[in-house]
């Protein structure tokens, strides 16, 4: 319990956010929007970490550090992903994920 806000509230929030992200990842065709869905997912995980850390082990800082690292990784990932997306766009003038199936079979 954190000053009236139970842990489960955080968890429910992050769950909803997570699955919204999942939904977006599954449905969206545009690569960039898919990337945005991934950001949502990452963010929901961050919330979990932070909430667990604060409410269950307030004396520790692992959750926070993890979140920091996740943010760093997300940044790295976003930059690489966007580089790839732009590269793909240059090549096929489209960033629709369904068109990207040259590597099948």
């Amino acid at each position: 319990m954190f000053e009236g806000v139970p842990l489960s509230w955080f968890l429910v929030l992050s769950t909803i956010m997570f699955f919204v992200g999942v939904y977006g990842f599954l449905v969206r065709k545009n690569l960039i929007t898919m990337l945005m869905s991934i950001e949502l997912i990452l963010n929901s995980v961050c919330i979990n970490f932070v909430a667990f850390n604060k409410i269950l082990y307030p004396d520790h800082m692992e959750g926070m550090f993890f979140t920091i690292f996740i943010i760093a990784v997300a940044a790295a990932e976003a930059s690489v992903a966007i580089a790839i997306i732009i590269n793909i766009y240059r090549r096929i003038v489209n960033i629709d994920v369904e068109k990207m199936n040259e590597m099948k079979y």
């Binding site: 599954l26 990207m100 079979y105």
Partner: protein
Amino acid sequence: MFDFSYTIWIVLIPFFAFLLIGFLGHKFKPVVSGIVGSAGLFTSWILSIFTAYKYFFDVGKIDGVYQQIIGYHTLWLRFSDTLYIDMGVFIDPISVMMLIVVTTVSLMAHIYSTGYMKGEKGFMRFYASLSLFTFAMLGLVVATNIFQMYIFWELVGVSSYLLIGFYYERPSAVAASKKAFIVTRFADLGFLIGILLLSYYTGTFDFLTLTSPTGPAIGTPPTATFIGMSVMTWAMILIFMGGAGKSAMFPLHIWLPDAMEGPTPVSALIHAATMVVAGVYLVARMFPIYVTVPIALQVVAWVGAFSSLFAAVIACTQHDIKRVLAYSTMSQIGYMMCALGVSGMGGHEGLGYMASMFHLFTHAFFKALLFLCAGAIIHAVHSNYMYDMGGLRKFLPITHITFLIACLAIAGIPPFAGFYSKDEILVAAYHHDTALFAIEYIVAGLTAFYMFRLYFGIFWGKKQDYHHTPHDPPLSMTLPLIFLAFGAMFAGFVPFSALVTSDRLAFDIHTEWIIAIPSIVIAIVGIGVAYMMYLKPTQIPAKIARSMSGFYTASYNKFYIDQLYLFITKKIIFNNISRPIAWFDRHIVDGSMNGISYVTNQASDKIKGFQSGQLQQYAMVFVSGVIALALVFIYLWT
């Protein structure tokens, strides 16, 4: 005891002649093959005669009984401790008699062929096959056990096949050879199964053991039965089936007339005198067992009688002289079979047996003679058909006389050979079964009729315009004719009842004139009818043919048996069995194998579809899988 082991050479000399001609024949002039073959056979002939003299008149008889001697034997193949195949020489009256018949006729055919086959392309091949045949036939007659007999039985079949197909460029010859082999092969299947049955229940192949009165076949016969008949009956009927195939008994006779496609000396040797009587010889060899199974013996008698009548009727309507002779052969063999069928064992009971062997002996001479004469005629006229002939007596005097002698012999006019043997058969039949006697009696008349139809048609009748004057053949061909004519005249005087009998004991016979006279009468009637109808060209034959047109046509077409066979083989076996099997194999059996591979391919094709390259599809599957697993582990897996 006199050592008969040299007799193996009677058999082996033709074999070596075969090897010699077969491997080295092409290195020399063709005539060398003929000389080698004939010389080899001459040696065999001399040895056979010597053996016969020794056996019958010197050492064979002990206490009035002719002994059964194993002249030579060697183990050839062992199946088990009791079942083994020996190769050897079995000497008893009938085998010695057959040795004489086979070597004599074969020698005549060999000599005759040097003239008849002169200039043929396959001369060497011809002599090789002829030697092979002689070897096989001799091996058959001296067989010490039923399996040795079967082995040589097959070998004579194949040499017959090779010789019928000698003119292999003629489609009819090829078809005939094939037919002969396959029909006899079918019969041999019966023979083989018979052997298997017999050997299974008696535990031996050996003739000596089998025919011994105390042996496992006669003394202690097996009691097992199958569909109401004892296994011995089955075995003997099946073995007779083999004999019927080789001896062209109804309904397995169809190959014999076609076999006339072979060169004429071959017809004389194989399809008249020797190979076709192998069936008779087989039954005679196993006769002591046949006597113990009356049903089988009954079958032998009736099949023989029916075949003789059937063939005689057909012979009356044929125009190809060799075919007439072929049907006549079939008819005469039917006679012999019938005689065996009506015979009993021992003494006077065994008259039929003796008569059968007697007839076999005399028949060999006059039928071989008839064929060789036919060969001489064909040689001169270049046609097989009666309607191309006529008035030949002036051109072919020697052939004419010898042919006439043979005709008289086969018609049963005394004192020619056929009379004596045929008379004995009729007597035996008369004492056994009147119906059989009646059939044989009619056949005797028919025989006289169709033989003289042939005789008058060829040598008298209307004179034809021949392109070049026909003339008697060269000495190499007439000599055998004359020799055989002597045989046909005097073979009847051989005292068979003293030499060849069912129990190997001599017994007295006397001509039963009560039967002999009617038989002479009917023969003369037959000759008379032929004389009226065919001496001069008349309308009578045509009229008769018209008046019984249905029967005549049926007989002319050999009662459609050939068509029936053709129907069964071509339509049923070929089209309705073989073809569906081939189809079944390609489409069902092979199809199911291909089906398996098709299914595998399709499955992999479908599975391949999951690997679509669609990222979101993967993600979808992944997420649902995770959720499903979570559900399973949380709620279902408690």
